[in-house]
Amino acid sequence: MTTNVIGNPLPRVDGRAKVTGAARYAADFNQSGQVYAVIVAATVGLGRVTGIETAPVEKMPGVVAVITHRNAPRLPYAPHKSYIDPATGERLHVLQDDQVRFYGQPVAIVVADTLDQAERAAAALRISYTAERPLVDPADPKARPVVPEAGKQPDARLPADTARGNADRALADAPAKVDEIYEIARENHNPMEPHATVAAWNGNRLTLWSKSQFVVNEQAEIAAVFGVPPENVQVICPFIGGAFGTSLRTWPHVTLAAMAARQVGRPVKLVLTRKQMFFTTGHRPRTLQRMALGATADGKLTSIVHEGTGETSRYEEFMEALTSVTRFLYSTPNVRTRYRLLPLDIGTPNHMRGPGEASGVFALECAVDELSYKLGIDPIDLRRRNEPAIDEGENKPFSSRSLMKCHDLAAERFGWSRRSPQPRSMRDGRLLVGMGMASASYPAFHAPANARARLLPDGAAEIEVAASDMGPGTYTSMTQVAAETLGLPVERVRLSLGRSDYPPAPSHGGSWTMASVGSAIRAACIAVQEEAAKRPRDGRPVEATASAQRDPDAAARFSMHSFGAVFAEVAVDPDVGTIRLRRAVGAYGIGRVVNPRLARSQCIGGMIGGMGMALMERTVLDPRDGRPVNAHMADYLLPVNLDIPQLEAHFVEEIDPHVNALGVKGLGEIALVGMAPAIANAVFHATGKRVRSLPIRIEDVLTV
């Protein structure tokens, strides 16, 4: 039975709870008898702790404990790695030794009866160090690139080196060439909600109310760190106030909260400050990329060489899909990619919305734009001339690919035909106007997931799954999937997320929740209906748990990605260099759109993220000690309302029978990918100045 709930622009089912404050976030779960922990962060960038004057602080009012590497319990830290952790290296073990590996690393925690007391005591704690100058700039010649260990095998998911044909020779022979270096600043995720954990032990059992995009992994990791069975750890996180990837991993503060709670024998609440969210909770790594394109005079790509490096920490090799898209976005016989890491004295980076793809596509799509000017070919046309029939990297057909449809739709809605091709040729009064565009792509991932469905005697249904909703509208879209599958009105479906004792789900990231969890919910709903059909109606609830994963045969046969096209218009003040985005249009091929209202909202959020990447966001580290100098919302620029112009998101009709039974691909990440190059290309069109380093700021375009 179908009620056509899927495809409806349903408002958020949790909207009311959120705007009335009824929705509870991690830090809202205050426990009785709770005390407060505050992290003391290292004030040197590399070195050792030589002294900590705990005695005076222990005597301060309300102080319950001062925990340092000297008195902290030695934690088992049993091996634990999920796919969200770097494959190589070992997580930071907190308060287990005197080493300082990067500025801001936790070196102590202070626990007190009130937050004020804990903050004051933390501020009063005197710590001495021996310090050396850390290496924090990937462009520093002393930074030595390494081949990522997990990329060494040719069949690695993120191979360090790939080649087809002979890209270097084809490049040398190419009649037209672009060969440039592109750089992207480090970004921090900066969600509204800070990281927060409330930890409470009951004997050997631990409950964590903790901001997490992956509660089952947090459960497993904390169990491993403390050497307790996973079933003794419960992680609860019903709501997330934005994350963008920063809460995918379980960061040191979770361990610290649990450690403190055990030490003092009371529930402990630990909320990171905004500044601390620039230290130990990951960031989009700074990247340096060489992108070289060779082409014939009529714009057929003959070669692509893509050499990208990303920064990582000294203790883990964080990898992202920097060079992946290069291998299949366009048709060309010769491609060589190289991916290297630069270990620095910094905390480990992690996935940030559109990880890898957003950065790699920036280089590729700017280079293609540069080529279009060299050849005098319209940039859309240039892409059309290189549209591949299959994924030439994998040598497989695409399960669906609507890239050119996206370009055509976005170009029409944007009014691309009004653009005059010459740079610096369009004006609005004094202002230079520029139009730019770019392709976008992101994999249509899918991971095994589980869900439980329960039919209640009154005809309502309950769904439980250990997934999260960091804001895209998972509560709503999953409710729609369940309602449609069960043939119930949405009001009769109650969905619960974010508890580690619910059926396990993959991390809420990588744009795979709709596909993976949606499929599992669909499977559970079908299973519970079958179960109900078998059973006599006895007034008792009927329950079924089911799992779903991608059809391995389809996965082997097809290359699966979302595609999109982004068009942007900027105005640049030729006198003072201000760059303002005036409007942007995105069109996306993402399979079935479960909820157009939420999908649009997702896209607009992603486009704003891409705008930040293009024009504002960067975390600046002081080279002397690696401290972030702009770890403050007034100094780390993000677009504010006045910056954000009209943004349009459109979806091309796309039916993909191969990706999953729902026909859905991901949307969250691709919405950010493509925006930065579209803006950078528009800035070039406006000014005639090519800026290859993000963010593009006033000082970059001041002198043209």
Binding site: R120, V576, D635
Partner: protein, 325 residues
């Protein structure tokens, strides 16, 4: 945050008496509380002056008189201010964010502290926060810092926008302290850092700002504020300029010009004003005059771009005086 006491006062007299015994005034609190939370400001006793009758905004003849406690948002939205003193309104609206402007008073605005990031970092040397500890910015990250009026001890810019407008317009301030009332140009409120960057202003102990007076002039309505920054709101100026011109018979009769984001205090440019006076208000003249602004400029490692941006901002602000806001 360190513990503090908070007392309310109901008269100017009581406020001054309290401040004379070492208490600090608190108005909107947007600077003070922010810095107290970070323990950069550590007052032990606060005097809440918000109940004092100092919020009035009125026109006296051609002068604009703004009570010290008038909120930035209220001043900017005041129809007489918009009509007769548009530069004041524009400089206020370009400052901070709507939420902050609703709380922030003009008196507090003039006394706001610098935005140099190291000023807030207890683990960095900063002569302004901790006298004689050194300056982390001079050899550190200093893209936002000043190029004019700096010393080897401090190069932080004065961050206020409205102060730039007030200094351009020869505004004066009226203050009262234990030794009575006095009034002096706003420009004289601000000190250069020299070798005492921790001393920022010239108020005497216990002095309370009562009001700011902006004299009207034939240039008042031909006056604009241009603030250049990477985002459209909620960011301090990279460079800003407040410009006012009186133009008659095709020549500039009087010019008023001050700039922000480049000086350790709001920076009046009298040489540029002089170079403009008597000339035609056209771009060539503006460009020639604007170059004089760089006299004595000393860039740091990260802010060379301000040498380029400053004259351009001045030229554009001068041009804007002939355009509607």
């Amino acid at each position: 945050m360190l513990p503090f006491t908070l007392e309310k006062v109901t008269s100017v007299q009581a406020a001054i008496a309290a401040a004379s015994s070492g208490r600090r005034f608190i108005a909107g609190g947007t600077t003070l509380i922010d810095l107290m939370r970070e323990e950069v400001e550590r007052p032990e006793h606060l005097v809440d002056i918000n109940t004092l009758p100092l919020s009035e905004i009125r026109i006296e003849g051609s002068d604009l008189v703004i009570g010290a406690l008038a909120r930035m948002a209220d001043i900017a939205a005041h129809s007489d201010v918009q009509r007769l003193h548009p530069l004041v309104a524009e400089s206020l609206i370009e400052g901070a964010s709507p939420q902050l402007r609703n709380m922030a008073s003009i008196g507090g605005n003039l006394l706001q502290r610098v935005r140099c990031p190291y000023f807030r970092m207890h683990d960095a040397p900063c002569n302004k926060r901790t006298p004689n500890s050194g300056c982390a910015a001079i050899d550190g990250l200093n893209a936002g810092h000043a190029i004019l009026g700096t010393s080897n001890h401090c190069a932080a810019t004065h961050p206020s926008d409205v102060a730039v407008a007030l200094v351009a317009l020869d505004a004066t301030m009226q203050v009262r302290g234990p030794r009575g009332e006095r009034s002096f140009p706003v420009e004289e409120l601000f000190r250069l850092p020299g070798d005492t960057p921790h001393l920022e202003h010239t108020l005497l102990p216990g002095e309370l700002i009562l009001a700011v007076r902006v004299p009207g002039g034939p240039y008042s309505r031909r006056a604009r504020y241009l603030k250049v920054r990477d985002r459209a709101s909620y960011e301090f100026a990279l460079v800003s300029a407040a410009a006012a011109l009186e133009v008659g018979d095709g020549v500039i009769r009087q010019a008023r010009l001050a700039v922000g984001g480049v000086g350790t205090r709001p920076w009046r440019l009298r040489t540029v004003e002089k170079a403009l006076t008597g000339k035609a208000p056209d771009r060539k003249i503006f460009e020639t005059a604007a170059r004089l602004a760089l006299e004595g400029a000393r860039p740091l490692s990260g802010n060379h771009y301000k040498l380029e941006l400053l004259p351009r901002t001045i030229v554009r602000a001068l041009e804007m005086t002939g355009e509607a806001a």
